[in-house]
Chain length 419, copies 2
């Protein structure tokens, strides 16, 4: 078979590959006459093919050794596909209802074959831009985050399992370095990659680069991101990594997965919902002023954290006599102490969440990779006004995160900037 | 050659081994007639032979697959010798003046051949018990800690180098687990391994097990120890891991080395000096009331931290435009920000140091492994009084460490308990 070494696939060679791969061809009932193949990779990094047959379907994702949206000028190991496959399988095992099934992985080809998320599944970010409500979103995302983060942390794992897993994911260092650069560094310095809605935000971008307290705080978060192996995080959990319908929520693209602070995932999701909130004014028109929709986003932010808190601590209670080696039952199982350790842990996790979420917001406004929520606002002056408000909230959350005691106070801060 | 697989050596087979090992036999000028071999392993874990020849000498250290002081009932991987050898070489490269040279390492035999620290080198702990002053101790130990910790941290390393090293040392997990158990867990629960000067300290040991705030704080430290890969630490830097003369200070036995919080090393050393301080009353006699010596210990504690702070921040200044990726020059090189980040980093490191140092003190009084400083006090009631004062300081430092702003305040707290 002709795939003993890596080669980028096109639609023609992809069919050869599928025919030669039982775990894929069987999904199509080994019928190839009426195959429909569409390349749909609209992400920043990879090539994605949808393969539809009469009796089955799947998605093929292939990583190329560079960053697609920038090109061969920014090389990026295709080994990321390996870590994505491992993370999909591990998170899928912990939360199968919200992670697509992996049918096939080929490390040589950096290729993953997985469930095709059929219509009406769309990328959440596009739904948020379109003003579509997803009544189960907070419920589903809090479930996904609570399970994937709790079960890969020392609250559930032995330190032996933990160190073995940490060692393996240290191999995903190139993707970690990309995050370190584009989230924690570039937005705070002059960089060829940075961009913003100019000239409107020129002073705002400069203010970010000159804010010592902001830079002091983002340094603390960068250290935590690099040094603290708290749980196996998705690593890129923005609203473009989630596919949704009214009844289904599926988390995709965990190629940045490694052991890092939980707050980086929770913050990424909540931070991108805040960006979606501030983008709404740019999408409002006579038919729809988006006021009700903005309320739904705020409620979804509040519910996401509160439900996460509830589900995460419930898992903790359920497994407090289990294999987790952080708090041994013989030491920590008295009610008063249980409350003390939980309150302390969840308070710190909340502040991490706000800090990382804020860093993810800021970088989407003055860094290299922007979000369609704002980019799709045609009129630059309107877009800049939306972005400026989001930036203000991001800076407040990053610098003052320890002063926030509950998610409802965060909602108030958002409303305050909005009004 | 007969050593293709592991076997514990005795004095006879050791000679065969040396003859068959050029890197060792050459040290003896290949003369074996007049060899003198002494087994001197007085540590808790390994067998140590001193090999003296007419024209050279060295030490052979062999790890056996269990903990020597407890026996085969407590198995412990002999792979620890590998991590010890790697750490000796890495720390030795960074601070050759205070780390013995490694001549030979044999992974199969879990055997290290290294420089023999000739008389009058003795174990620091024994010198402290004997009441001997070492005028260069603070200078040397602060130098060792500043260099080994700074150069293996993200203040000097790239995140790529860092993750590769972290991944390798995750393999030393059995030794980490031993620390987790005996330092952070057993002293806070009923354990078959715990012991204390009974009946005198029965209530004190019980009080440790029933102190919720103490247990809350030690849990935070355990998390940091397990999750935070800050630098390549020695991992067991008490006064029994240091050999000294009036002019030489040599750090040995880094078999617990791995990537963890810097404060665990600094705290181990300072905490054991505090134990030595409180043991002095048990060693005082008509000839020597030890009052002057106690002052020297307090000064050494104060100098150790202050000199470490000075040397560490000096290395930071010297390399602030270097390869370290924690604080990129393009973002952090303005004088005001430099001061902010240093003050913040060193304040947190100081509090980590007090917390970990306190945990190491407490475990030596109510845990499995005690220190000769106290054990050598024959009269139990006197020993208990010394231990009780040390325990009080340990509890205070662990619970209130964030309230201490300088090492001189720590000295005052020690004097307060003493008087």
């Amino acid at each position: 078979m002709a795939f003993s070494e890596f080669r980028p696939l096109d639609e023609k060679s992809l069919i050869e590959y599928i025919k030669a791969t039982p775990s894929l061809s069987s999904k199509l009932g080994d019928k190839f006459d009426d195959l429909v193949i569409k390349e749909v990779g609209d992400g920043n990094l990879n090539f994605v093919y949808i393969v539809l047959g009469a009796s089955g379907s799947f998605v093929i994702k292939q990583a190329l050794p560079y960053i697609r949206c920038i090109g061969e000028s920014w090389p990026m190991t295709k080994e990321r596909a390996y870590f994505e496959a491992v993370a999909l399988k591990e998170h899928g095992g912990l939360c199968p209802e919200h992670v697509p099934e992996v049918y096939h992985f080929d490390r040589t080809m950096s290729l993953i074959g997985m469930r095709y998320l059929e219509p009406p599944h769309i990328i959440l970010r596009k739904g948020l831009i379109a003003g579509i409500e997803y009544p189960l979103l907070a419920e589903h995302m809090s479930e996904y985050m609570a399970k994937t983060l709790f079960f890969t942390s020392l609250l559930y794992r032995s330190t032996t399992e933990h160190k073995r897993a940490v060692a393996e994911f240290c191999g995903n260092l190139e993707l970690c370095r990309l995050t370190e650069q584009v989230v924690f560094s570039d937005p705070y310095k002059v960089s060829e990659y940075n961009r913003w809605t100019s000239p409107y935000l020129d002073r705002d971008a400069e203010a970010v680069r000159e804010d010592n307290i902001l830079k002091l705080e983002v340094a603390e978060l960068k250290f935590k991101f690099c040094e603290r192996a708290q749980a196996l995080i998705h690593g890129d959990l923005h609203t473009g990594s989630v596919m949704v319908t009214q009844v289904s929520t599926q988390v995709i693209d965990p190629e940045f997965a490694f052991y890092a602070p939980m707050g980086f995932d929770i913050g990424a999701f909540i931070g991108n919902l805040i960006l979606a909130f501030f983008a709404q004014d740019g999408h409002a028109d006579q038919k729809n002023d988006r006021k009700a929709y903005k309320e739904w986003i705020l409620k979804t932010i509040e519910d996401t954290w509160n439900l996460f808190h509830q589900k995460f601590t419930a898992l903790w209670d359920k497994h407090k006599d289990g294999s987790g080696e952080a708090y041994l039952p013989a030491i920590y199982n008295n009610p008063e102490l249980q409350k003390l350790i939980k309150d302390k842990y969840m308070r710190e996790l909340f502040h991490d969440t706000l800090g990382f979420g804020a860093a993810k917001m800021i970088r989407r406004i003055v860094g290299v990779a922007h979000v369609e929520d704002f980019e799709s606002i045609k009129e630059p002056s309107i877009r800049a006004d939306c972005e400026r408000r989001a930036l203000e909230v991001g800076k407040t959350l990053l610098k003052k995160r320890r002063e926030f005691l509950s998610i409802s106070e965060v909602i108030l801060a958002i409303r305050h900037v909005q009004s």
